[in-house]
Every structure is written in C-alpha cells, then in structure tokens.
Symmetry: C2
C-alpha cells in the first residue's frame, strides 16, 4: 500500500486544480482559433492537435512536480496502444485531455479536461473543468466534492459543496431522469444490447422520465454530482473517462458501480452505473440501481 | 391573407422578447422555490403549477396587447384536448410555457419558454429564453436571428447575429453531429421505427459523429442556429415545440422541413428535420438532410 496523508492529498488536489485551469486555457485558445478557422482546415485535425497539446502539457507538468508518480493519458494510450492494465499502488495520474472531443469540434457546450489520481488502484482525486461553460468540479477522497463557477484562482475548499440534490433520490425508475450514450461501436455484440436496454427502459411499465445523451462521460458524472441527473450508465468507458468523475460523485454522496457488481468501483472495468446523492448515507446499493440493472444486459469488454 | 408590415413585426417581436424575459422570471422564481422545497412536495405538481402560471401570464399578456390575435398554448391544449388544427391567417401566438419540463424539475440545465407567432399559417416570429443558462434567442421572418447572453433590457437588434457556424455544413453524415429524442411513446408503431432509425444511423457505413439528446426541441433548434449541432430530427413534435425554433433556424440560414417533404415547413405536421446554416444561401434541400432521410422510416401522426 502506498501511504499518504491529508496533507499530500490536499497538495495534489491543489496542484491538479491549477493544472486543469491552465489546460482549460489551452482548450479555450484552440476554441477561439477554431471559430475563425478557414473551412479548408479539417476540424478533426485541429482537435487532435489540442488533445495532444493538453496531454503533453499535463504529462510534463505532473512529471516535473511528481517524478515518482505514474501517468496515463487517453492520447498516449491511443498512440501506443497500451492499456492502463499495469495500474499498481503507485499514485497514477489518469487523464482525458479533452473529454467530449466531438462536442469540442462542433461547439456543443459539453466538453472538459478531466484529471483523476488513482492511489492504491482507487480513484482518489478528481478534477473536471469545462472551459466553455467555465465550470470547475473537484473532489478528493474523504474531503467532499465542490463546484466553482467562473474559476480564476481557486483554493481547495472554495466553491459550492455538491450533495446531489435536495429532493430524495427516487426509489423507482419512473421518477428518474436517466443519462446514457449510444457510443460509436457498430459491433453487434456491443450495439445490440445497448439498443435493447434503451428499448427495455422505454417500454418498461414504469419507464423513466427521459433519457439524455450529451456525449461526455465526465460531464454526465458532474451532472450527477450536481443532482441534475438521477442515474447514469454507460458501457465501453475507459479509466480516463470515469476516474475523476467517480471521486466527484462519491464525494457528493452518490454511488458508482460497475454494471451488476456489488464490489467497490473498479476504474479498469469498462462499465459504469451511478446515482446521485440526496444527503442520506447509504450502506447498500440504491434501489434505483437495482431496478435499472434488472433491465440491463451485460456487455463484455476487455479490461483497460 | 393577413397584411402586416415591418413595423408590426418589430413591435410584436419586441413585445414577445419582453414577455419571454418576464416569463423567465416566473420560471426562475419557481426554480429557486423548487431547490428548497420539502421532499413531501411532488416535483411533478410543482412543474405543472409553473407551466400553468407561465401560460396564464402569457395568455393574459397577449390577449390584452393584441385582442384581435389568437392564442395556442401547450397547457391549454392539453387541458381542453383541443388541437391547433383551426390555424388560419390571423396572427396566432403559439406557446410552450416550459419546454423541457422534465429537465426543469430535475435541474438539468436545458429548458426554456418558447413564444412563436404564426401569421398566415407560417412561423413568423420566434423567441426562446432559457432562464437557467440566461440565454435569449429571437428572430423574425426576414430580419435575422440573434442571441443575447445575460439579457436584461433587450431591444430588437441587440445581441450576436446567428449564422450557424463558420465551417461549411458537412455534405456527409459521417462528419455530422446529430440530435434527436427517444420520446416517451411506448406504442410500437412509434417506438420501433424511432429505434430502427437510430440503429441505421449508427450502423450506416458513414455513420455520424455522434447522437445527442437534451430533452427539449426548442433548445435543440437554438443549438442548430448557434451551429453547435449540424442536424436535428424528431417525430411527434407539436406546433408549440417547433414554431419559435423554426423561425430562429431559418433566419440563421438553416433549413427546416417536415420529414421526407419538399414543401415549406408546416408547424402542424408532427415531424421535423433541420440543418444549421453556414453562411451560404441554399435553394435546394441540403445534401445532409437527403442523406439522413435515406435512413429514415416515416412515422405517421395525426396532424396538430
């Protein structure tokens, strides 16, 4: 076990907040450029450049500050084809430089930089910053989750404490606002069950209040922490899609699981189901999760 | 034909903008109340009260200002079971007091008051205000579409002129960000084709960049006018879901049609397909619409 204390944790969190805001500046600058880009430029290229620039900035930043830590980024993994599988007890920064890349290219306002820190294989710090909406979310294990609007200089403890929502989490899906994603996989073994689950949710006698899809896992998770969505599920996520958000949800009083599992949330598993908090402490899985799981079909993915 | 001139139009638009901002105040007040509501209160009741209060305010407002005009509101129609079918040449205010009711109850940030004016059966004025994001959109036929952030006192002509996006509208679905809704209908003749269309979009060789669902037609349409979404389609919409947005899209240089129709957009038909503008004038249906229509299955609804 890697030993750490509250002081380490606070220092890492403070550092990650600064890094996220600085990364947000890089993304915002690219966004400005994109708005005035000539049509000849390929929007996909522009985004890849931004993704890479942000990841490189964060890699160098954390390498310099914490040479003894490890680093996993979406772009690096995509380039090298490596997975997160080697995760051990050493603190590991797990980063999505731009979560919601497609939204970023198109100007759809949900995209963010996501910085997670796993210690002893457990999501321990989460920082998510949406530079378009200028919303910062941060949390560290045992110290709560917070949201800062229009962040400039942020000190740990600043902002509004997140607790899900004042109203109780509904006990039945019929009162729940649900979020999920179709994803882009055309593989029948992945796409068919995804569509079948959606059909089952809609045709279920109790149904739900509606299904939302905004195209970024981390922002869905921040909406859960704010209480704007009751329940979120997705299959095919990677560690960098969920590491930061998992801490933010847990620290806001919500719950995060892998599909159909009672074990503690494993960021290397490729499925997620999460509910918001409502101010009450739960020792068991929320009934809402159990009900949604009764409509689900397990989808097999290789571990990260 | 009902005769009107630029001066009438400007007066009506100015009036509708003021009314939308005032309606937004009513919604915001309810939102505050909702946040601190005791759990015993049924969120669904609260929303119905807000819907009704806003519709009543707007009905009385327009009745007083324009006694010779007609008025159609979502709530009134829902209560009386009446449809919009009687639409004639007389200017008719077509209103959704809260579009995105479920989002409003849950705090998901996309909901709005939508005020449309149909003259000679044609969507002629559109005003959409999201009091949560504090974003106002307005347009009148022949005079452009505009967006005002943090609106307080707004004069016609204020704000940023909307033109879709600077990049050309993609010619193929493979580069397009798509928006649609699952809706809540469990009727197989409605649900099955909806799900089949989504499956066809995802499994199509060219596919698309992704599918988004935010739970309000009018806000989807404002995102089209801003250029944040390339193409939007939905079945089962009512006149009050699309009247305001249609003018805003058309005046931003985008196109709005009923599914698989080359006729001018009819707000009483229950299907919609729309693309964003890109600064070019099109005399024909955008190729993107034709391509999406090739994947669609027509869904039959009774007219409004």
């Amino acid at each position: 076990m890697f030993e750490y204390n509250d002081e380490n944790l606070k220092g890492w969190l403070q550092n990650a907040i600064h890094a996220a805001l600085e990364a947000g500046e890089i993304i915002s600058a690219a966004l400005q450029k994109q708005r005035f880009t000539e049509s000849k430029e390929n929007p996909a290229d522009l985004v890849t450049a931004t993704d890479k620039a942000v990841e490189e900035f964060l890699f160098n930043h954390f390498k310099k500050c914490y040479p003894e830590h490890k680093f996993v980024g979406e772009e690096t993994s995509a380039m090298t084809g490596s997975t997160v599988g080697q995760l051990d007890d050493v603190p590991t920064w797990i980063i999505d430089p731009v979560d919601g890349t497609t939204n970023f290219v198109h100007g759809f306002p949900f995209f963010c930089v996501a910085i997670g820190l796993a210690v002893n294989k457990t999501a321990t710090i989460g920082v998510v910053y949406n530079p378009k909406l200028r919303e910062l979310f941060y949390a560290s294990k045992g110290h709560g989750a917070f949201m800062v609007t229009d962040p400039i200089k942020v000190k740990v403890g600043d902002g509004v404490k997140l607790t899900g929502a004042p109203l109780p989490l509904p006990d039945t899906l019929s009162h729940a606002l649900i979020a999920t994603e179709y994803g882009s996989s055309k593989v029948p073994s992945v796409l068919d069950p995804k569509i079948e689950i959606i059909r089952k949710i809609i045709t279920n006698p109790v149904a739900g209040r509606g299904i939302r899809s905004i195209g970024t896992a981390e922002m869905h998770m921040c909406l859960i922490a704010q209480g704007a969505i009751d329940i979120y599920y997705e299959a095919g996520t990677h560690a960098w899609d969920v590491c930061a958000g998992a801490v933010i949800i847990q620290e806001s009083g919500g719950q995060v699981f892998n599909w159909m599992s009672d074990q503690p949330f494993d960021i290397l598993e490729r499925t997620i189901i999460a509910v918001r908090g409502d101010g009450t402490v739960r020792h068991e899985k929320a009934p809402l999760i159990k009900e949604l799981e009764s409509l689900m079909i397990y989808i097999e993915y290789p571990r990260d």
